[in-house]
């Protein structure tokens, strides 16, 4: 549907705001999800989405078209979040969580053992879908920043390793090993939940 990204970018460069809106509509949810994964609350994620798109628009001339528009956009978005987090850390030393679970046990990014910080203490109780989502987001929040970035890019966009490498400016092998470790950590924290979810939700066979 619609024009491809590069055609839209070309129109934007000529000052066509509707073309830019089309690009935003195409990517805003993913950029929001990515930002939320980095900053952990909706207000800040909204700020980050705005900032990323405004920066992207102002720098469209710089976008060469050698890489895809979205790897470029995601890089801007991740950098905006990283800057924001550094700023916040200096100001307050901690992040705010939107999610309803465990406000009392804030996660201090990388220091806490994953299992306890993700609050995986009672896998036997019944989990609503939403609660599971919150557990997962907390477990992602407990990853190191580098692991979090690769997981978000891989799962939000299904990006190929080469694209993730390009977005983050690291080698492909680095992407592969970070993903491996990130997933191991997540599995350690979430294993019981995810398996229950999987057996309940995917009894009709494996998704590819």
């Amino acid at each position: 549907m619609g024009l491809d990204d590069n055609k839209l970018v070309e129109r934007c460069r000529r000052g066509d705001h509707t073309a830019f809106r089309a690009l935003m509509e195409r990517y805003q949810r993913k950029v929001f999800a990515l930002s939320y994964g980095m900053v952990h609350n909706s207000e800040d994620a909204q700020e980050m989405v705005q900032e990323a798109f405004i920066k992207a628009y102002r720098n469209l001339d710089r976008f060469q078209g050698n890489s895809s528009f979205y790897t470029w956009l995601y890089r801007i978005s991740i950098n905006a979040c990283i800057d924001f987090l550094r700023r916040e850390k200096k100001g307050r030393g901690n992040v705010d969580y939107d999610d309803q679970i465990g406000h009392h046990e804030r996660v201090n990014e990388s220091d806490f053992p994953l299992v306890s910080s993700a609050g995986v203490d009672n896998p036997g109780r019944s989990q609503s879908r939403r609660e599971l989502g919150e557990q997962i987001r907390r477990a992602i929040a407990a990853l190191s920043e580098k692991h979090r970035q690769v997981i978000l890019l891989r799962e939000v966009e299904g990006m190929a390793y080469g694209e993730i490498a390009e977005t983050l400016g690291v080698a492909k092998g680095t992407v592969m090993s970070r993903l491996h470790h990130a997933r191991q950590n997540l599995q350690a924290a979430l294993g019981p939940y995810v398996e229950r979810g999987a057996s309940a939700g995917e009894s009709d066979g494996e998704r590819s």
């Binding site: 805003q28 989405v49 100001g91 599971l132 992602i140």
Partner: protein, 230 residues
């Protein structure tokens, strides 16, 4: 192939990122090892749940109408002419002002903060034409503003910004003259609640429209530094 080796490749296999030969080895192992086959389905289940959990806040945002607000804000921002470097610097400074001053107690009110907005001529003269506007902006937004003092002899600073820390190449106040501050070609001094410090606007060759601001502030024994693109 041993189970342990396979374990390291499983993710890449599930993502379709292995070379053909390697993928075939993995498949051969999986066919004869129920444990690893189970690990693969766990991995796939995890991926599915992750994706859903990551995207859920965006769905919620859509339901709350956040994307309309976002578009309205973006549209008005891009309709306006892009802010000058000076305006951006002021906005950046003001936004982070409380965060940056938190570490510096108010008792230092009488102390002088020195802000050096140095334009990095060592890299290129890209921002030089904006020098006056920068001075104007700082005068309006960050009073009181002392007359800029320029060093006779520009200090050339060889420094790359990479990594997380303010790198040691950043000029320290010790290295400057009696007026305290030297930047490459422009220096501004402003009263503020820290004793001294530098703010350098650095040309970023990859993103010329997104200069990097590097700051390094001192108050007594305390220091605060960092960098971000604006």
């Amino acid at each position: 192939m041993k189970c342990r080796e396979l374990n390291e490749l499983l993710g890449a296999y599930a993502d379709g990122e292995l070379e053909k030969g390697q993928a075939r080895e993995v498949e051969a192992h999986l066919a004869s090892c129920p444990g690893c086959a189970q690990a693969l389905s766990r991995q796939r289940a995890l991926s599915g749940s992750l994706r859903e959990a990551i995207l859920e806040p965006a769905e919620r945002a859509a339901a709350e109408g956040r994307f309309d607000t976002i578009w309205a804000n973006v549209e008005s921002a891009i309709a306006a002419p892009p802010p000058s470097l000076g305006e951006r610097l002021v906005a950046w400074w003001s936004a982070g002002r409380s965060a940056r001053s938190r570490w510096a107690p108010a008792l230092a009110a009488a102390a002088v903060l020195v802000v050096v907005a140095g334009l990095w001529a060592a890299r290129s003269g890209v921002f030089a034409p904006e020098g006056d506007r920068l001075a104007d902006a700082l005068t309006t937004e960050l009073p009181p503003f002392a007359a800029p003092r320029l060093s006779d002899e520009p200090v050339s600073v060889a420094r790359e910004t990479s990594g997380d820390e303010v790198s040691p190449g950043l000029p320290t106040p010790r290295r400057r003259g009696p007026e305290g501050m030297v930047a490459v070609n422009e220096v501004f001094i402003v009263d503020y609640e820290v004793e001294r410090g530098t703010v350098i606007v650095e040309h970023n060759p990859e993103e010329p429209n997104m200069p990097v601001v590097v700051w390094h502030l001192f108050n007594g024994d305390e220091q605060n530094g960092g960098e971000e693109s604006i």
